[in-house]
């Protein structure tokens, strides 16, 4: 198969047999209680230099409290998979946690754009679809998957994709390399203490992210029993053996929403938007919502407050499908 074109973007290749060996030895088969405090989960599984991926979005069912904890613990040199992000990448970049971003969508606000313009953050170009397809390849344990996207664009030139002549049809096709993040972060509606987890509503790629990642941390709105899981197995999105840590984090998506549980906090987003183009304001934002509080609990207590929480819960009037 001739390579017709090769993107020059930076990315890491995973040997599928080493990946299998990791999955064999490092992923626990026995059902053990994996509930740990958020700070402990991040301390244990997120290291400087790691590749981090998440699901789903800043507005909806995103692992916002986990991202804040990573910033609070001042991780550095992370690579981030921005496959459907608006806020996570901007916050991590502003906090100095990132060395690079795989761009589906870089993030909102001019600060993150400036960081790329100044060369403070490296980027490799992809698309939301192909970055998510890379997670599927990673989840399947294959080194790449074909796609008809990316072709004939500068996006491809600055990606890590290769164009080959398809050996079956003879047409040019793009191959995108698998990604196996060091850590995947997924917020779920419900799970048991072992990590059998349920996400309700649409989502970008919760299962692919959990499968592809070497370590998966889930944060959850609610912890339920394994009996409940077994009563309705079709509701299970992620089986326990893919999960390394379970963090109990009600309202963990804030300022985004968890479908059917609470609405996103639009006022907070407007405050973030106002800060996202200004270094000083962003610094103040990070101080206010992350550094000056020691945990998600303290964030809820001191920066959101019971009245606001009750209001956001009350706003979640649409329940159909989310339980």
């Amino acid at each position: 198969m001739d390579v017709l074109q090769a993107g020059i973007g930076e990315f890491t290749v995973e040997d599928p047999d080493e990946l299998r060996a990791f999955m064999r030895t490092e992923k626990r088969r026995e059902m053990v209680d994996k509930v740990v405090p958020e700070a402990e989960a991040v301390r244990r599984y997120v290291k400087d230099g790691d590749y981090v991926s998440f699901d789903f979005s800043s507005f909806t069912r995103g692992p916002a409290s986990l991202v804040r904890e990573i910033i609070r613990q001042r991780r550095q040199n992370l690579w981030f998979a921005a496959k459907f992000t608006l806020m996570e990448s901007t916050l991590l970049a502003a906090a100095g946690c990132l060395q690079g971003i795989d761009v589906g969508f870089l993030g909102l606000g001019s600060l993150i754009g400036k960081a790329v313009e100044d060369g403070r953050i490296k980027v490799t170009e992809w698309t939301n679809g192909t970055l998510t397809l890379r997670h599927l390849a990673g989840a399947m344990g294959v080194p790449f998957l074909p796609s008809r996207s990316l072709l004939a664009t500068d996006t491809l030139t600055y990606s890590g994709a290769k164009v080959v002549q398809d050996p079956f049809t003879g047409k040019p096709i793009a191959l995108v390399p698998a990604v196996n993040p060091d850590v995947g972060l997924v917020h779920v509606h419900q799970c048991d203490v072992y990590g059998n987890a349920r996400c309700f509503g649409p989502g970008v790629s919760p299962l692919e992210t959990a499968m592809a990642s070497k370590r998966t941390i889930i944060s959850t709105e609610e912890i339920i029993t394994t009996d409940d899981i077994r009563k309705e197995p079709s509701k299970t999105t992620i089986p326990y053996y893919l999960v390394d840590a379970v963090v109990y984090a009600p309202f963990g998506c804030l300022p985004g929403g968890a479908q059917g549980v609470y609405e996103m906090d639009t006022e907070h987003f407007l405050e973030y938007m106002a800060a996202s183009g200004d270094e000083q304001k962003m610094g103040a934002y990070l101080d206010k919502y992350i550094y000056s509080v020691s945990s998600h609990e303290e964030f809820l207590d001191k920066r959101v407050g019971v009245t606001r929480l009750m209001d956001l819960k009350r706003q979640a009037t649409i329940k159909e499908g989310y339980h």
């Binding site: 979005s57 698309t127 996207s149 004939a152 692919e208």
Partner: protein
């Protein structure tokens, strides 16, 4: 612009909806002339009937995904587009050239030293690659209608040579179909694939439109006069979608 965009959404079609303004246009189309149009979202929602009033920022949330036919995920949605199931895609862009190539990545001559960096493809590359037809919504400004985009984020008709897309491996028979601005409507000429002026908004002159473009589009003998928003469209926009005026006139960016 919202209304022009909505008018291009046909009833009974499967339509990929991008973030922001296309969402509002889709609701408008559904309420007025396209009740059986299926909205498709990259994060997996199929066929929702979004709740109004429309809430700013909402996309994957319950109000926008209200009464969907199915909730899937991104790989499924883009696979269905690649399969040929998506009739129309609707996108925003930062820059566009005469062959409909779009840029939403960066400005500047040197990629390694961007003068201005934007968010990048998002799902735009998939949409312009996989949907049968794509509508591009863009502000009518000279700096946006350029001879050559600084960066081809998503493919139009490339260099305009015959079958350029097919030769590159892009799905046959796809590509940009219409470009909608606040003042004009464009299509793409056959076989030159050059952008051509199809219509100008009533009260706006052709010269006014062309002045705000770096390249000269083809201008047919018959350029349609585009009707401004009708009272019916305004009623839905103002009474149902955005009664507090939080969105209209504010979401139309890049």
């Amino acid at each position: 612009m919202i209304c022009q965009c909505a008018r291009l959404m046909e009833d009974g079609k499967i339509v990929f909806i991008g973030y922001g303004m296309p969402q509002i246009a889709a609701i408008l189309a559904q309420r007025l002339h396209a009740p059986r149009m299926i909205q498709l979202y990259e994060f997996g929602a199929v066929g929702p009937l979004p709740e109004t009033p429309f809430v700013r920022f909402t996309m994957g949330g319950p109000r926008n995904c209200y009464k969907s036919l199915a909730w899937t995920n991104m790989n499924t949605i883009f696979a269905q587009a690649q399969l040929g199931m998506v009739d129309l895609g609707v996108l925003g862009a930062t820059q566009i050239d005469q062959f409909g190539n779009i840029n939403s990545t960066m400005l500047g001559a040197d990629y390694t030293r961007p003068v201005k960096r934007f968010p990048g493809s998002g799902g735009a590359n998939e949409v312009l690659t996989q949907c049968w037809r794509t509508v591009i919504v863009i502000m009518h400004e000279r700096r946006r209608f350029v001879k050559r985009v600084d960066f081809v984020t998503s493919p139009g008709y490339l260099d305009g040579t015959p079958e350029a897309r097919e030769k590159a491996g892009l799905p046959r028979g796809t590509g940009p179909w219409r470009v909608v601005t606040s003042k004009a409507l464009y299509g793409f000429d056959e076989p030159s694939k050059r952008m051509s002026l199809l219509g100008v908004l009533r009260g706006v002159s052709k010269a006014e439109v062309l002045k705000e473009m770096e390249f000269e589009p083809l201008v047919g003998e018959k350029v349609e006069e585009l009707e401004p928003p009708t009272s019916g469209e305004l009623r839905v926009l103002r009474n149902e979608i955005d009664p507090t005026r939080a969105i209209i006139g504010k979401t139309v960016r890049s």
